[in-house]
């Protein structure tokens, strides 16, 4: 399951995603159905895992993936700060903004220092995926259902991020990039724990 999520976030090439993207903005309203589901895997079913496993990530790819992941989660967190209802969810959103923004900034600084320009892995759909999730969360009405959808997505997202980090750590060439990933890992784990605790408290 973890592998499939990793791939889902990494490659994010899915028939469902493409179809929805083409449907454009009008689809945003209908997407809310998806966000009430449990995990991002529900939105983005696993594509061919072997393809991803076979394609090694370069350092520029890793920088891109981490950037995209951090930026997207920070943006969602910002939304949760205002659109969340429970104090836990709002606080969690605020934490995501602060910590993923910081990780993003550290990634920026390192990329600049190493003169690495981020390069998207082949067939990367993470931007489209993040946009779809933002659109659906934007369209979904404020309330308990929104809180649940957001937290469910965040759990799946952070699980996927953990797996990506593991893969990236194994494949990264630069020592400083490895160090940054190593430093990020416990932060991501803490986010995951926190999200799961909120989900348990809300009841699923």
């Amino acid at each position: 399951m973890h592998t499939s999520r990793t791939v889902a976030l990494l490659m994010l090439v899915t028939a469902a995603a493409c179809a929805k993207k083409e449907a454009g903005r009008a689809a945003a309203d209908t997407l809310k159905v998806d966000t009430t589901g449990a995990a991002p895997a529900a939105v983005a079913p696993p594509p061919a895992e072997t393809t991803a496993a076979a394609t090694p990530l370069t350092d520029p790819n890793i920088v891109f993936i981490l950037h995209a992941a951090n930026a997207a989660d920070s943006a969602r967190g910002k939304l949760a700060e205002t659109k969340g209802t429970s104090a836990d969810v709002k606080q969690f959103g605020k934490l995501m903004v602060g910590e993923h923004h910081a990780l993003n900034a550290q990634g920026d600084a390192l990329a600049k220092k190493l003169s690495v320009t981020a390069v998207a892995p082949a067939n990367d759909q993470s931007e489209a995926q993040a946009k779809m999730e933002m659109d659906s969360l934007t369209a979904l009405a404020k309330g308990a259902a929104w809180d649940k959808a957001y937290i469910a997505y965040e759990i799946g997202y952070h699980q996927a991020l953990k797996d990506i980090a593991t893969k990236a750590l194994a494949q990264a060439q630069n020592a400083e990039l490895k160090a940054l990933i190593t430093k990020a890992a416990p932060i991501v784990q803490a986010h995951l724990d926190k999200a799961q605790a909120i989900q348990t408290k809300m009841g699923s």
Partner: protein, 523 residues
């Protein structure tokens, strides 16, 4: 431009300074916890922010304090001394803000104020909340600055920018200056790091806007579903005027507008030896300077007898010409090109100038197709009111395309300056949110040639008097343009304080007894 990196100077502000050493309106450059910090006194308050402009790293300690703001001497960005907010472009990023403690007769900086990332930091008093879809056409200076301003003001609905270029937004002024000359690293060119837009929930749609339906409030984009809008900002910018010369289509002939254009000139300059620049415009001459810096031989062809005379007057025109000649540029003035051949540019008197690289810079024209098709009011540009609204409801225009009522000249003007475009975008964004803010900035631009940067503040299409103070050849001059005894514009070389002071003077003159009156200015 390197800016003020490097060694910290001035006192350690954590250790504190004598409060009485700063009079109201004074500022002091020092440092705190390893960072350059500017301490300023506004009335009886002591305020401290980062000391380095977030645009090109200009030294704010050499700028002007105006009320509770500081203006950068280099390109007139403006920051709040209270919280470091970037109030005016060309700076887009806030500066750090520092806590200041007054203890008896000492004043000391105690620490940095933590700011929440993505927080709405721009002070916005009135906000209309009934909008969810803001669409911006163009990710250039105006369009992009508008998108960020919407977020800085706390707008949380959708922001979509439609732009057909793959790499916008980027720092266009650099494309003819340091970047083209090989003195600016690649990372200076994007306005923002990758994913900045994503983190701020700004969507950039790479596509061509084909039709604006102002009745249905809908923008059509090639190959996509139409995008509905509650408010739309047209910021389509300008495109180079094409000469249509015989031979112009050849691969060694270039125009310069986009990042891709600049890159292809750089690639060509690697192999070329002799360049001919057609046009004595700012772009043409900046290009000539940049190519000379790269070691190419450069000839400039222009119809006027003194380059830039129409814009900058005789004194500065002569100086610019002499400056370029000193660097080895050959001018062919009073001439037009007739045709371009594989290895030469042929002039109207049949002179053949050998060239393996040709760059044409003869001005730009506003891109009005979308506005014309939507039947917006047009007058050599999109006509906007003082709030930057076009003739169609909920449609705003900013940047190179917009012709606005300028309170300083009393005329409707349209300018093609980067800083003006960014500021228009920012004001348009705030007005979309209901600010009701008049666009009344004094126009500003700068032009760089070798080691000389000319700052120009104000707007003078025609003048009847020119006052020159100083010596252009000595790179120390201020040229004042007046009409009917009224100062319209000031062009300066290394007179940054005067340039800032003149800007404030024009603002006050236009405001009369308005809000800005009586605010002290110090340099």
């Amino acid at each position: 431009m390197g800016g003020t990196d490097g060694a910290l100077t001035g006192p350690d502000l954590v250790a504190g300074v004598n409060a009485a050493d700063l009079k109201p309106g004074d500022k002091l450059l020092g440092h705190a916890n390893g960072e350059a910090v500017l301490l300023a006194r506004v009335g009886d308050e002591y305020l401290a922010i980062g000391a380095t402009c977030s645009h090109y790293g200009g030294p704010l300690a050499e700028g002007a304090i105006v009320g509770d703001t500081v203006r950068c001497p280099w390109h007139h960005a403006c920051f709040s001394l209270r919280n470091g907010e970037a109030l005016r472009a060309p700076a887009l990023s806030n500066l750090s803000c520092w806590r200041v403690d007054r203890r008896g007769d000492r004043v000391a900086v105690t620490g940095k104020v933590e700011r929440e990332p993505l927080a709405a930091t721009y002070p916005m008093e009135h906000r209309a909340d009934n909008l969810n879809e803001v669409v911006i056409v163009g990710a250039g200076a105006a369009g992009y600055a508008a998108a960020e301003m919407l977020r800085r003001c706390g707008y949380e609905g959708r922001v979509t920018i439609v732009d057909e270029e793959p790499d916008s937004p980027y720092d266009r002024p650099n494309l003819s200056k340091d970047y083209l000359a090989g003195n600016a690293p690649e990372e200076w060119i994007p306005l923002r790091p990758p994913n900045f837009a994503a983190e701020h929930n700004i969507e950039i749609v790479r596509g061509r806007a084909t039709q604006l339906d102002v009745k249905a409030h809908r923008l059509e984009v090639e190959g996509r579903d139409p995008i509905p809008y509650d408010a739309l900002l047209l910021a389509t910018g300008a495109e180079p005027i094409r000469l249509g010369l015989p031979g112009e289509q050849a691969p060694h002939v270039h125009y310069l507008r986009s990042l891709a254009d600049s890159r292809s000139i750089i690639a060509a300059a690697d192999k070329a030896k002799r360049a001919v620049v057609i046009g004595g415009s700012f772009i043409g001459l900046e290009t000539a300077a940049s190519l000379r810096t790269r070691g190419l031989e450069v000839d400039v062809v222009a119809p006027e007898t003194v380059p830039l005379e129409r814009v900058m007057g005789r004194t500065l025109g002569d100086f610019i010409k002499a400056l370029h000649e000193e660097k080895g540029v050959r001018f062919h003035l009073g001439h037009k090109p007739k045709s371009i051949e594989k290895e030469a540019v042929v002039l109207d008197d049949d002179t053949r100038l050998p060239a393996d690289l040709v760059v044409i810079g003869v001005g730009v024209r506003p891109r009005l197709a979308l506005a014309e098709q939507a039947k917006l009011a047009i007058d050599k540009g999109v006509v906007v009111d003082e709030l930057l609204c076009t003739s169609a409801p909920d449609v705003y225009a900013a940047g190179d395309i917009a012709r606005w009522p300028d309170p300083h000249t009393g005329e409707r003007i349209r300018v093609e300056h980067w800083v003006v475009a960014e500021r228009m975008g920012q004001v348009a964004a705030r007005n979309i949110l209901g600010a009701g803010e008049r666009f009344d900035y004094v126009p500003f631009f700068w032009s760089a040639h070798y080691d000389v940067s000319i700052n120009y503040v104000g707007h003078a299409e025609k003048w009847d008097d020119v006052k020159v103070d100083g010596n252009a050849m000595a790179r120390d001059v201020a040229v004042l343009f007046e009409r009917a005894g009224k100062p319209l514009a000031l062009a300066t070389i290394y007179r940054d304080a005067e340039s800032l002071a003149f800007e404030v003077e024009l603002e006050r003159a236009a405001e009369g007894l308005g809000v800005g009156d009586g605010i002290p200015i110090t340099e």
